[in-house]
């Protein structure tokens, strides 16, 4: 701030409060709707204050689910989402840190080719090659499995680049010292590289967990068995009931539960989240 202008300060606060309100508005509505009884929506106007049915709505959804649309209990769906998000995050970090280690600390034939093969994945988001990718997974018999949900999303150039950058900033002297002490490559990797990149791994983990939890198109395609439904993809299936008005109070309870874990991660790990976001875009 260059000079003191009280009017601008007030304006800035007003803009921010308005921004926060607009950003929070749909979530507020969702929370309100999730505490209401089904007949509250028939009056034609959405109520704006919470109702008394929160506990029973959430309990129904978590334990029983919407049987009318064939959806399993949300507890199971959230567990599936958690398994998928964790496998994607951990799997991505593991395979990218290994390949970054190979690319930075070794010189071998086809090294540049390997680098470009990884780089090109940046240019092939799953949405643009969805049909052939689905066919590959179907041919491998990976439909309706946790492997099918997570492995095809594990390759990532951004994570590899991030670790490559981290490794490039680690002084060469550390490697010299380790070699003089008789450490082989894997010992160096385990005892020096991994501890030094721990915060980067944590930051990346936060971003990848959100990425994995929020996957939509992929789980929608590879799961037809309701035991493997994830919550984000499952909500759409609940809202799509034909011949009946959607049970908005239950759907909004599902919406709130679907966003709760990643939002809590962002709020409580904001520093790591921001670090991860900025680093993965370099």
């Amino acid at each position: 701030m260059v000079e003191n202008r009280p009017f601008l300060n007030v304006l800035a606060h007003a803009v921010l409060i308005l921004g926060v309100a607009v950003v929070a508005f749909p979530v507020y509505i969702a929370i309100i709707a999730s505490t209401r009884a089904p007949f509250d929506f028939q009056s034609g106007l959405l109520p704006l204050l919470p109702g008394p049915h929160a506990v029973e709505n959430y309990a129904t959804m978590l334990g029983i689910g919407l049987s009318s649309s064939g959806a399993p209990p949300l507890g199971l769906m959230m567990m599936n989402s958690l398994i998928m998000a964790l496998s994607i995050a951990i799997g991505k970090i593991a395979i990218s840190i290994l390949s970054a280690f190979a690319i930075v600390y070794f010189r071998f034939p086809f090294r540049t080719l390997a680098f470009w093969a990884i780089f090109i994945t940046l240019m092939l988001p799953v949405e643009v090659r969805i049909v052939p990718t689905f066919k590959v997974v179907a041919d491998l018999g990976m439909l309706n499995s946790y492997a099918g949900l997570s492995i095809p999303l594990m390759a990532s150039a951004t994570a590899t680049f991030l670790f490559r950058q981290v490794f490039m900033t680690i002084p060469d002297e550390l490697l010299d010292a380790a070699r003089i002490d008789g450490a082989g490559p894997m010992k160096f990797f385990r005892d020096i590289l991994i501890p030094l990149s721990r915060t980067n791994m944590a930051a990346l983990f936060v971003i990848l967990f959100i990425y994995g939890w929020n996957q939509y198109l992929w789980p929608l395609l590879v799961t037809t068995d309701s035991r493997y439904y994830t919550i984000v993809a499952g909500i759409k299936r609940m809202a799509d009931v034909t011949d009946a008005t959607p049970q908005w109070n239950f759907i909004m309870a599902a919406v709130v539960l679907a966003m709760l874990p990643p939002v809590l991660v962002v709020i409580f790990m904001q520093r790591l989240f921001v670090k991860g976001l900025v680093e993965t875009e370099k």
């Binding site: 000079e3 704006l48 390759a155 709020i267």
Partner: protein, 294 residues
């Protein structure tokens, strides 16, 4: 592409280290992408028994297909609207936070969390708010004389998906704008203030030009986001309707491939999209190289 000065000498180990990543990349990225390219030159008969090579026929069919041209137009409108709305809103919020000293972190926390909400979930929430029978917004709009119905009116549907998609993206842009603003030296703004430039003048002549690298980067990221990551937003809300008013290219690829089962056309569309992503990625990286000089 550089390595370290000192390196390990090992013949096989690096291949073992690379194997998992390369396997996943080859099986789930390169092979399907190759399949898409091959299929885009082929036509499959109605029973999927016989495929024939048809050259560029799928591509020429695309370019003369009014539905595809419409989808292209819809994508441009949608992308421009989402990029503009989310960039401008984020910039205004970032400028406001930049004035704050004590409350900056608090406001930031309250503004960044929508990034964590899945686009599909955001779509369902906005779908509910704009629901023509019970939604809050149609009720309010009715009071000022506008009859909202996104299941019939194309423009209403477009506004709905633009709002839902932008809502998700504002927090991301906001964080990068705040970082960009903080990297502008205060001395420049102070010098301009001493020379008598008011806040508005300082914004247009100093802040905005110095922010242009961030803005350009965010523009590319937002275009990529609006074109490719909003599948869920569309699928969870309008499903491309009404009358294809929100049928963006990624949604059409899915729809023609999985629902319409027109593999040749869907593959040709995939290839077109890949070319677009490659072009955008090249632009983004060319910019990263340039940024080093700043």
């Amino acid at each position: 592409m550089d390595t370290k000065r000192t390196i390990f000498r090992h013949r096989l180990l690096p291949y073992f280290l690379l194997a998992p990543q390369l396997a996943v990349t080859a099986i789930f990225f390169l092979w399907p992408a190759g399949q898409a390219v091959v299929q885009s030159f082929e036509r499959e008969d109605a029973f999927g028994l016989k495929t024939t090579f048809v050259g560029l026929a799928n591509y020429t069919a695309l370019l003369s297909d009014p539905d595809y041209l419409n989808s292209l137009k819809v994508t441009v409108v949608f992308t421009v609207a989402v990029t503009l709305l989310s960039l401008v809103a984020a910039l205004v919020l970032a400028l406001a936070v930049d004035r704050m000293i004590k409350t900056a972190t608090g406001y930031t926390t309250l503004l960044v969390w929508p990034y964590a909400v899945a686009p599909a979930v955001a779509g369902v929430m906005w779908w509910f708010i704009f629901n023509p029978t019970i939604g809050l917004m149609p009720y309010l709009l009715e009071q000022v004389g506008y009859h909202w119905d996104h299941s019939l009116k194309g423009t209403d549907a477009m506004i709905l998906v633009v709002i839902a998609a932008s809502w998700n993206q504002i927090s991301y842009n906001f964080l990068f704008f705040v970082a960009g603003l903080q990297s502008i030296p205060a001395s420049m703004r102070e010098a301009a203030a001493i020379d008598g430039a008011g806040p508005a003048k300082r914004f247009w002549t100093i802040t905005l030009p110095l922010l242009s690298p961030t803005t350009f980067f965010l523009m590319v990221v937002n275009v990529v986001y609006a074109m490719f990551s909003t599948f869920a937003t569309i699928h969870a809300t309008t499903q491309g309707g009404p009358a294809q008013a929100t049928n963006i290219l990624v949604y059409k690829v899915y729809n023609d491939g999985f629902i319409g089962l027109n593999l040749g056309s869907s593959s040709a569309q995939s290839v077109v999209l890949m070319v677009i992503v490659i072009a955008l990625t090249v632009i983004q990286f060319a910019w990263v190289e340039r940024r080093v000089q700043y």
